[in-house]
């Protein structure tokens, strides 16, 4: 089973965990991204996430399907937040449940690594004295 979501509301880790757990999964791996207060020694005030919604959902679903092709997993959930996020808030949560832990770890890591490469979502870091679209410039 797959659940993929782009949302402007706060991601709820407990609801995500409850969704992936089931009687046939012994190992669950959960990756949670969190907004850091500092990058490259600049103080971050907030982040702004923007997505090409339809394509982002397609790509996230594609990652989830790839995971099922590659590993024996039971459930995968990928939630990504868009809009304005404060320090400590959660931009992304990926949870994978499998009978055994190795598949859950491998699949979860693959999913976040691939999401960061291929899913059309962009993040702007806003500082006290400016702002930068992350990774847009050399």
């Amino acid at each position: 089973m797959i659940e993929v979501k782009l949302t402007e509301k706060a991601i709820d880790p407990l609801a995500c965990i409850n969704w992936v757990m089931s009687d046939n999964s012994g190992g669950i791996d959960v990756f949670i991204g969190s907004v850091r207060s500092e990058t490259n020694h600049r103080k971050v005030m907030r982040l702004e996430f923007e997505a090409y919604g339809e394509m982002a959902l397609n790509k996230m679903n594609g990652i989830a399907k790839d995971v099922f092709d590659k590993w024996p997993v039971n459930k995968i959930l990928i939630h990504h937040r868009i809009g304005i996020l404060q320090i400590g808030e959660i931009p992304v949560l990926i949870a994978v449940a499998a009978a055994h832990r190795a598949a859950a770890f491998d699949a979860c890591r693959y999913a976040i690594d691939t999401l960061k490469q291929n899913v059309p979502i962009w993040k702007k870091e806003v500082y006290e004295d400016g702002e930068i679209w992350v990774a847009a410039h050399p």
């Binding site: 991204g33 996430f49 923007e50 997505a51 090409y52 339809e54 394509m55 982002a56 397609n58 990504h80 931009p91 992304v92 976040i112 999401l115 960061k116 490469q117 291929n118 899913v119 059309p120 979502i121 962009w122 993040k123 702007k124 679209w133 992350v134 990774a135 847009a136 410039h137 050399p138």
Partner: protein
Amino acid sequence: MTLRVLGFGIAREIFGAGIIQIDVEENISAGALKKFLETKFPTLKNLSSYRIAINTEFAETDDKITSEDEVAILPAVSGG
């Protein structure tokens, strides 16, 4: 033909809008569209990299575009 092009992230800021409308040759390739946009918006050349999507799929340089297609300019992604 008239083409509507979506811009995201810094591309949206360079365009000054989330969607722009441009006049280009029929069946322009993705690569030729890039060149055309870089003439119109020279700042695009400063981006570390950006890709073109046609109908929500990453396009190859030779892929042809029709006026029916949804075309988008995607700077290097930075989700997660």
